[in-house]
């Protein structure tokens, strides 16, 4: 091939690989605008001079502290419960696992309000489990910080399960079977081989579930209510302030957006791959 010919060919090859019908650009631009313009709108509306004061008000700090605490606990619960579930779903050959796999996705597609209502009728005073707990231990779950954690775990768990399960499936069990022939007990295989190999998927799952728990609104307000310092997390505070003090609501929203962007930066692109896998 002559020197003059090759750059032209390269250019041609690149063009073929990247060719997108022009017609797609218009809806694509609209979609992008729909995602970004509201954020810009919020930024324009923000009173940056009062921002520090708004963010450090007592109500805001309560909400922030509560949100970080409950989202962190929920995320830990998601990991402790979700990782074993993901492995069982991916590896178990028991009949009915396929159905279970679909059931696990329920909180992902269910309106959170419905989830909250369901939790209320399970763990509320009249719910069968709630009644049992009330009678035996005197503990009432709804409208407590624990209820916030339960609601957040409920909605966030599928993100972790889907992310980890995809990775377990994609990895297969070849490494585990080799480890077993090397004399490793099942628990050793799990801790020394399975878990380390899952770390990337687990990391993205953790970030996604944390973000989902932090943003939880519907299930929380239904199941846990909105008591300042007890169950009123950041999103609930935003909702409450939206009527009382719009500037404060906007400031808190900005805080949530900053956290969301941090999550995207941390979790991409692995999160997307994990969910797909």
């Amino acid at each position: 091939m002559s020197g003059g010919e090759s750059p032209g060919k390269e250019k041609h090859a690149r063009a073929v690989g990247a060719r997108v019908p022009v017609a797609l650009w218009i809806p694509a631009t609209l979609a992008l605008a729909l995602v970004t313009l509201p954020v810009i709108g919020l930024l324009l509306r923000t009173d940056f001079a009062r921002l520090p004061a708004l963010l450090t008000s007592e109500a805001s700090l309560h909400a922030l502290r509560l949100s970080l605490l409950t989202a962190a606990i929920s995320t830990v619960l998601c990991v402790l419960l979700g990782v074993p579930l993901a492995i069982v779903l991916a590896r178990s050959r028991v009949r009915g696992v396929r159905v279970l796999r679909a059931v696990v996705l329920l909180p992902l597609v269910l309106p959170p309000v419905v989830g909250g209502l369901a939790l209320l009728y399970l763990l509320g005073r009249t719910g069968f489990l709630g009644y049992l707990i009330d009678v035996t231990t005197g503990v009432r779950v709804p409208f407590t910080t624990a209820a916030v954690v339960i609601a957040q775990t409920f909605v966030a768990m599928p993100f972790l399960v889907v992310s980890v399960e995809g990775a377990v499936r994609a990895a297969g069990d070849d490494f585990e079977s080799v480890a077993a022939t090397l004399g490793a007990r099942p628990w050793t295989v799990f801790t020394r081989v399975t878990c380390p190999l899952l770390l990337p998927a687990l990391a993205s799952g953790v970030v996604l579930s944390f973000a989902r728990a932090l943003g939880e609104f519907g299930a929380t307000i239904t199941f846990a209510g909105s008591l300042q310092g007890v169950t009123r997390t950041l999103p609930l505070e935003v909702y409450a302030q939206a009527e009382a003090d719009v500037d404060s609501a906007v400031a808190l929203s900005l805080l949530l957006i900053v956290i969301a962007i941090a999550v995207i930066v941390l979790a991409r692109p692995r999160a997307v791959e994990g969910v797909r896998g």
Binding site: S177, V178, A179, T181, G183
Partner: protein, 370 residues
């Protein structure tokens, strides 16, 4: 050492096989894809449940999980744990068996040196070539001191440069390593069996269709099925610079495989179709490998006619098969008892390393076969 009599049902597929491998012995399992070779290894290692009995070194293991069987497994791909470095990979087995961390590392270093990759200890698996990774995987399997080493196509994924060296290493480990170590080698390549195994079973559709000493089975397949896999002339002897010298001193010129070592046991391999047959004294030309032999049998063999020479006193040409067209056989007027001259081009003969058993058992066993 290894005695197994197992049956597996997996939907349509059924595997039923019995094996007996003595200490120090290596059994090659030959067969096409889907014949049950890999299922067999999974049963022996405990990764697949099977009915029947398996005993390794006198211990019944069929009810034990894989980690209690004392079996080493080397697969086509090395499957080194990607999150550990080479040394940690090899130390994993000894550590899992309860050795202290220090001791496990010592053992691992020893085995890495033994397979010739000591300098790679600190590397991550992603930084290794295919051949290096497979060596590390072998060290890892041996570091647990298994009594039985299962080899599942261990050379199939290696390139043409790495495979001979790995084959030579496996040969050394299996023959000169722990003499109590038995091996089961699954392969589709008859050359692997020649180089590494003293016994062969041929599997088809989950059944044993043929078994016996490697050389007998491969050189004179009793079934059409085996013949399709391995229809080769195998002449035993030892490797010399320009080919192979048989036990009775005749020289067969050929091309030495990269892993053949001069002076060591070897087998010359060539197909029945590359042999030319002439009446004695016809005065033909170039091929330097020419010998006189007595024709022992003439049989129709599909579209060709298979000639087989008699055993006594013909040097390398004793008991070999040659394929001719029926027309050529008629033209030459060949029938059992005829004296013929056979010749084969040196470039059509490959000289491969062989287990000593194969090299020794050469000419004698042939006459027993139908």
């Amino acid at each position: 050492m290894l005695q197994a009599d197992i049956q597996v049902n997996r939907g349509e597929f059924e595997l039923a096989i019995d094996l007996d491998v003595p200490p120090g012995g290596v059994l090659a399992v030959l067969g096409p894809n889907g014949s049950g070779k890999s299922s067999l290894l999974d049963c022996l290692s405990g990764l697949l449940a099977a009915r029947g009995t398996i005993s390794i070194a006198g211990r019944a293991v069929h009810a034990l999980p894989p980690h209690q069987r004392g079996v080493g497994l080397l697969r086509q791909t090395p499957l080194l744990f990607p999150h550990m470095n080479v040394l940690q990979n090899v130390a994993f087995g000894p550590a899992s068996q309860g050795q202290s961390k220090e001791r496990a590392r010592e053992i691992a270093s020893g085995w890495l040196a033994d397979v010739g990759v000591a300098e790679l200890a600190e590397r991550k698996p992603a930084q290794l070539s295919g051949g290096q990774a497979q060596r590390v995987a072998l060290a890892r399997a041996l570091a647990t001191r298994p009594r039985l080493l299962l080899l599942d196509e261990p050379l199939a994924a290696l390139d043409v440069h790495a495979a001979p060296a790995m084959r030579a290493l496996l040969g050394r480990v299996l023959r000169q390593g722990d003499e109590r170590l038995a091996g089961v080698l699954v392969t589709h390549d008859p050359l692997d069996a020649i180089a590494l195994a003293d016994q062969v079973v041929v599997l088809a559709n989950g059944r044993v269709v043929e078994r016996g000493p490697t050389r007998e089975v491969l050189a004179a397949p009793r079934t059409q099925f085996t013949a399709r896999i391995a229809d080769l002339n195998l002449v035993a002897g030892h490797a010399v610079a320009d080919g192979l010298r048989t036990a009775d001193g005749s020289l067969l010129q050929g091309i030495l495989a990269p892993d053949a070592v001069r002076g060591e046991a070897a087998v010359a391999v060539f197909a029945p179709s590359v042999i030319a047959v002439y009446p004695v004294g016809a005065g033909h030309g170039s091929p330097r490998n020419t010998a006189v032999a007595t024709l022992a049998s003439v049989e129709s063999h599909g579209p060709v006619t298979r000639l087989r020479t008699g055993t006594p006193g013909a040097g390398w040409a004793a008991g070999i098969a040659a394929d001719l067209t029926p027309a050529a056989v008629a033209e030459l007027g060949l029938e059992p008892g005829s004296e013929i001259e056979v010749s084969v081009k040196a470039t059509a003969v490959e000289v491969h390393p062989a287990t000593p058993v194969i090299a020794r058992g050469a000419q004698a066993t042939r006459s027993d076969r139908p």
